[in-house]
C-alpha cells in the first residue's frame, strides 16, 4: 500500500477524482492497484463485496432459503437458451411449427437447447412455488419486507405472462387452443373484454399477428424479468434476509457473512437443482409436456382435452371450478392477486409459522389445496375432480381472506426466542460477541439491523 498512486487515501489532486463526493470505494486491504483504480471510478467491486461477500446473513437459514437462488439459475438458463432459440425461430402461423421442428432436427445442438428451454420453464416455476410457500410459511412478507414481497409477486405474475406467451410460440395444438381458452376468458369480461381480447390477439381470431405479438412479448418480458429480479434483490439487501425463526437480526452474533457460508450452502442446492434439471432434459423430456403440441395448430380441430402445462394447472382448475366463465376468470385472477395483499391481510405480529400453531396447520392445508388444484387442473372438470377443485378453491380464498386476518387475534403464539444466536450458540460464544447479546433486548431493537460492513 506504499504506492501513492494506488493507495485509497491518495489525495484527489493526484488521482484526478473530484473530492466533492464521498469516496464510493471502500475496499479493504488485499485488493490490487487495478481493482482499486476501477473501483474508484465504478464501485462494482465494493458493491459485489458488500452485497455478496460480507452481506450479513442470518446464521440459521435452512435449505428452503436456496430456492430464490435456484429460480435465478433457472431464469439464467431460460434467457441464454431463449436467445439461441430466437435466432432460429420464425414467428408466423405458416412457419412457426416447422421452424421449431427444424430447431429440433436440423439446427446443430438445437434439440438440447430447446429441451433445456422447455424444462427450464418447469424448473423456474417449481423453484418459484417453493420460494413463495417458504415466504408464506415463515412470514417473510411481514414488516419490513412488504415491498420485497410485492416485487416477488410482480415477478411471479410476469413469469406467468411470459410462460403463457412462450407456450403459444411452437404453434402446436395446445399452443393454439391454450391461447384460445385465455382469449375466451378475457372476452368474458363485461364491456372491455372483447376489445381487450381483440387488442391482445391483434384481430378477431388467433393468427399471424397474435403470434408476432406473443413473440415480442415473450422476448421482451424475459429481460424485464431480469430487471425485476434486480429490484427484488435490492429490496432484499435493504432489509436483510428473513429466517426460520422470524425474529430480526440483533447483532453480528446472529449473522454469518454471505461468502463463504451461504455461497457454499447455495452451491449444494444449485448442483442438486441442476441434477433434477438434467434428468428432466435428458431422460424425461416428455414427462411434463403435452404430446399434442407436436401436432401443428389446427383451428378446425379442437382437441378432446385442452390441458395446460402443470404450472398453470392450479389456476386453470380455479378457472373451471366455477360454472360461469366470467366468475372463473375473476376467481382465477383473484387467486394470484390476493397474494399481493398478504402483508396487510395477516394481522399477527409473529412471523414464523413455527411459533403460530394454528397458522401452521392453515399453511399446511394451503399447500394441500394448491397441490389438489394442480391435480384437478390436469383432469376433466367432472365428478370428484370438480368437487375437489371447488373445495380447494374455497379453502384458498378462505385462507387468505378469512383465516389470515382472524388468526392474528385468536391465536396464542408460542414464546419467541430472544435472538437468533442465543438459543443455539454455546454461552461462551454468545456472550463474547457483543455486550448486549446475552440480555433480553428491548422491543425497539427488533427492527434494527446491524450495518457491520
Amino acid at each position: 500500500m506504499a504506492d501513492p498512486l494506488t493507495s485509497s487515501t491518495t489525495p484527489a489532486a493526484m488521482t484526478g477524482i473530484p473530492t466533492s463526493r464521498a469516496p464510493a470505494s471502500t475496499l479493504p486491504d488485499g485488493y490490487g492497484p487495478r481493482s482499486r483504480w476501477l473501483d474508484r471510478r465504478l464501485p462494482v467491486i465494493s458493491l459485489l463485496r458488500r452485497e455478496y461477500v460480507v452481506y450479513p446473513t442470518p446464521r440459521n437459514l435452512n435449505y428452503l432459503w436456496n430456492f430464490g437462488a435456484l429460480a435465478t439459475v433457472a431464469l439464467a438458463m431460460l434467457i441464454l437458451t431463449g436467445i439461441f432459440l430466437a435466432i432460429a425461430y420464425t414467428p408466423t402461423a405458416a412457419g412457426a411449427f416447422a421452424s421449431v421442428e427444424a430447431i429440433d432436427r436440423q439446427v446443430g445442438s438445437g434439440w438440447v437447447i430447446r429441451s433445456t428451454h422447455m424444462a427450464g420453464a418447469s424448473m423456474v416455476f417449481a423453484a418459484l412455488y417453493v420460494h413463495t410457500f417458504r415466504s408464506l410459511y415463515y412470514g417473510s412478507y411481514k414488516e419490513p419486507r412488504e415491498v420485497l414481497w410485492l416485487t416477488g409477486m410482480l415477478l411471479l405474475v410476469m413469469m406467468m405472462v411470459t410462460a403463457f406467451a412462450g407456450y403459444v410460440l411452437p404453434w402446436g395444438q395446445m399452443s393454439y387452443w391454450g391461447a384460445s381458452v385465455v382469449s375466451g376468458a378475457i372476452s368474458s369480461l363485461p364491456g372491455i373484454g372483447h376489445p381487450l381480447a381483440v387488442w391482445l390477439q391483434g384481430g378477431d381470431t388467433i393468427g399471424d399477428v397474435t403470434l408476432h405479438r406473443y413473440y415480442a412479448l415473450h422476448f421482451v418480458l424475459g429481460f424485464l424479468i431480469l430487471g425485476a429480479v434486480v429490484l427484488h434483490v435490492v429490496a432484499l439487501h435493504v432489509t436483510g434476509s428473513s429466517n426460520p425463526l422470524g425474529i430480526e437480526v440483533k447483532g453480528p452474533q446472529d449473522t454469518l457473512p454471505f461468502h463463504p457460508y451461504y455461497t457454499s450452502k447455495d452451491a449444494i442446492g444449485v448442483v442438486l437443482f441442476l441434477i433434477a434439471f438434467a434428468v428432466l432434459v435428458f431422460y424425461l423430456p416428455g414427462w411434463l409436456t403435452q404430446p399434442d403440441n407436436y401436432i401443428e395448430a389446427n383451428p378446425y380441430s379442437t382437441p378432446a382435452d385442452i390441458t395446460p402445462e402443470w404450472y398453470f394447472a392450479p389456476f386453470y382448475a380455479v378457472l373451471r371450478a366455477v360454472p360461469s366463465q366470467l366468475g372463473g376468470l375473476l376467481l382465477s385472477a383473484g387467486s394470484v392477486l390476493v397474494l399481493f395483499a398478504v402483508p396487510w391481510l395477516d394481522t399477527s405480529p409473529v412471523h414464523s409459522a413455527r411459533f403460530r400453531p394454528l397458522y401452521r396447520i392453515a399453511m399446511m392445508l394451503l399447500v394441500v389445496a394448491f397441490l389438489l388444484l394442480l391435480a384437478c387442473g390436469l383432469h376433466r372438470p367432472a365428478g370428484i375432480w370438480l368437487a375437489l377443485s371447488r373445495i380447494a378453491t374455497l379453502y384458498w380464498f378462505l385462507h387468505f381472506l378469512v383465516l389470515l386476518p382472524l388468526l392474528g387475534g385468536i391465536e396464542t403464539p408460542l414464546k419467541l426466542p430472544d435472538s437468533i444466536g442465543r438459543p443455539v450458540l454455546p454461552p461462551r460464544q454468545a456472550t463474547i460477541s457483543t455486550a448486549g447479546a446475552g440480555l433480553p433486548m428491548p422491543d425497539g431493537a427488533m427492527a434494527q439491523r446491524m450495518e457491520n460492513d
Binding site: A102, D104, A267, I268, F282, P285
Partner: protein, 261 residues
Amino acid sequence: MRPPTHLACKSFLAAGVLAALLGGRAEAQQLQALPVPPQDWSFRGATGRFDYASVQRGFAVYSQVCASCHSLRQMTYGDLSSLGLDADQLHDIAASQPVPAGTDAAGNVVLRAATPGDHFRLPYANEAAARAANAGALPPDQSRLAGTIQGGPSFIQAYLTGFRDTPSSVTLGPGMHYNIYVPGNAIAMPDVLHDAHVRYTDGTRATTPQMAHDVSNFLAWVAQPHLEERHRLGIRVLVYLTLLLVLVAVLKRRVWASVRI
C-alpha cells in the same frame, strides 16, 4: 374375447385419434378394439438405443410403401445420416426423388433431383389432392406420429398387422377397411403390407409382422431422432454433476465446520 384391460383402453383411444386423423367415420355400432400387444422396444428406458438395422429396414418400408400417401415433411434427406448412411448413400437416396424447383418461363412447374439438404418430398401437392385420392380421408404426416398417437410405436405395429377380412355381420361404410385395433373396427386406410412386398437388402425375410415392426421402429426414430445422443449426453452431464456435488458437499462441510448452528 379377452376382457378389456388398461391397454385395451389405451389402444381404443389411440385408434380413435388415428381414425380422427384419417378422417375415418366410425360405425354407429362401436365395435370393441382389441388390446395392443405390449412390445419390448430397444429404445425404451434410460439407456435405450435404436436397433438401427431394423430402423434402416423400416426406412425401406416407409419409402416403398408409406411414402406414397404419408408425408414426412419435417425430415430432410440429410437427417438420415444418423441412421448410419454415408454421404454417397444419402446423395443417391435424395437424387432419386424429384422435388419442385420453381417454374419455367412458361409458368410450368419444374422438377429437379433432391439434395441431402431438401425436405422429404410430399406425396400430394396439397390437402385437397390428398383427400381426393383417399376417399376424403387425409393421411397424417408421420414426422411426430409415433409420439403423438396414443399407444405409440406399439400401436402402429399392431395396427399395421390388424387388418382382417370384413366379417359378414359387419357392414362398413364406403372406402373403409376392417381393422381389429381401431374403434368401430373401421379405418379409411387400406391394408398395405403384404409378405415380400418390400425387398430387404440385408437378407431379412420381409414378412408382414417384420415389416410392421421395422417401420414402427423407423417412425419411433423419426419422432425422436436425438434419443440416443440425449441419453449419452445425459450420462456425462449427470456424472459431472454428481462429482461436483461431492466436492461441493465436502466444501460446505469444511466451511461450516466451525459454525455451531
